[in-house]
Every structure is written in C-alpha cells, then in structure tokens.
Symmetry: C2
Subunit: 93 residues, 2 copies
Amino acid sequence: MEEQEIVELGAQLPGWEVTDDDGIRKLKRRFRFRNFAEALAFTNRVGELAEDSQHHPALLTEWGAVTVWWWTHAIRGLHRNDFIMAARTSAIT
Amino acid sequence: MEEQEIVELGAQLPGWEVTDDDGIRKLKRRFRFRNFAEALAFTNRVGELAEDSQHHPALLTEWGAVTVWWWTHAIRGLHRNDFIMAARTSAIT
C-alpha cells in the first residue's frame, strides 16, 4: 500500500493507530472492558471473525482490556484487508 | 519474595522465564500450537483457571502460539502464587 493510502484509510478507523513493530506496520487498538470475563469474551468474538475470514490477528487479553493487532504476515505489513478486519473488529465490541 | 527464592522456584518451572517489564517482574512462557483455533482454546482454558482462582494473567494469542505472563498487580511483581499459577498453566496444555 502507498503511504498516503495507509494514512487515509487509517483516518477512517477511530481508535486505531498504525504502529511500527520492528519494521512491520500493524493496525493496533486497545479495547476496554469491565473485567476479565468480558475481555475474554471479546477475544473469542474476534477469534471467530478471524477463523471465518482465515485471517488472524494478535490479541492481548488482560483484566479489563484486549489489544488487537492486524497485519498481513505474508507481506510483513499492511494490506487493505487489514483495514477491513479492523473495522469489523470495532463493530463487534 | 527474596531474589534467591525467585531463582529457586523459577528453576522448578520448565519453559518459564522471569522477565522484567518496566521494573515489574513477571513469569513468562510461550506455548506453541498447530493453528489459531488450538491457541485460542488454550487461552480459554487458562482464562477458566484464572476466573476460578480470581487471579488473572496477560495472554497474547496468535496463530500457533499463546504467550502467558503471570504476576501480582497489587505488589507490582511476583508472589509465590504466581509460581503456582504458572505450574497449573503448564499442566493444562
């Protein structure tokens, strides 16, 4: 993806940021919950979305929060599909 | 906990390492799985253990791996209980 497109698509995803993780760009967002059980329930919803899409994020589950990172392993960076997955993730909170 | 006790108890936990995360010591282990679904299933087993114990780790779920960190938030470091939880986590892989 072109840099300009990453910036433009990123701007359409409230709460998400583009991070650089050892040279690999990823979309990252931290979602807050009331406790561990609600955080884990969200992790499972995102997991179901991932399995349905055959595209898998990294998910950090903690008491009261889940951090999600989307990127495309094969290209070691961001693909348009990651922006779609991020929007779908926001929609299932 | 005394430093010596941390080293001694840590040595009894194969695969686990004591990490220093911005001054907070944690027990960390990365568990490998064959795919995302098996990784997420393990995350849920650890989550159930955590809820039963009312003590909660951080869990990074990825395609083929789950990284688990145990520490005690209230003391910003390690308690004997964290070593017990780590051993119980290893037992449910």
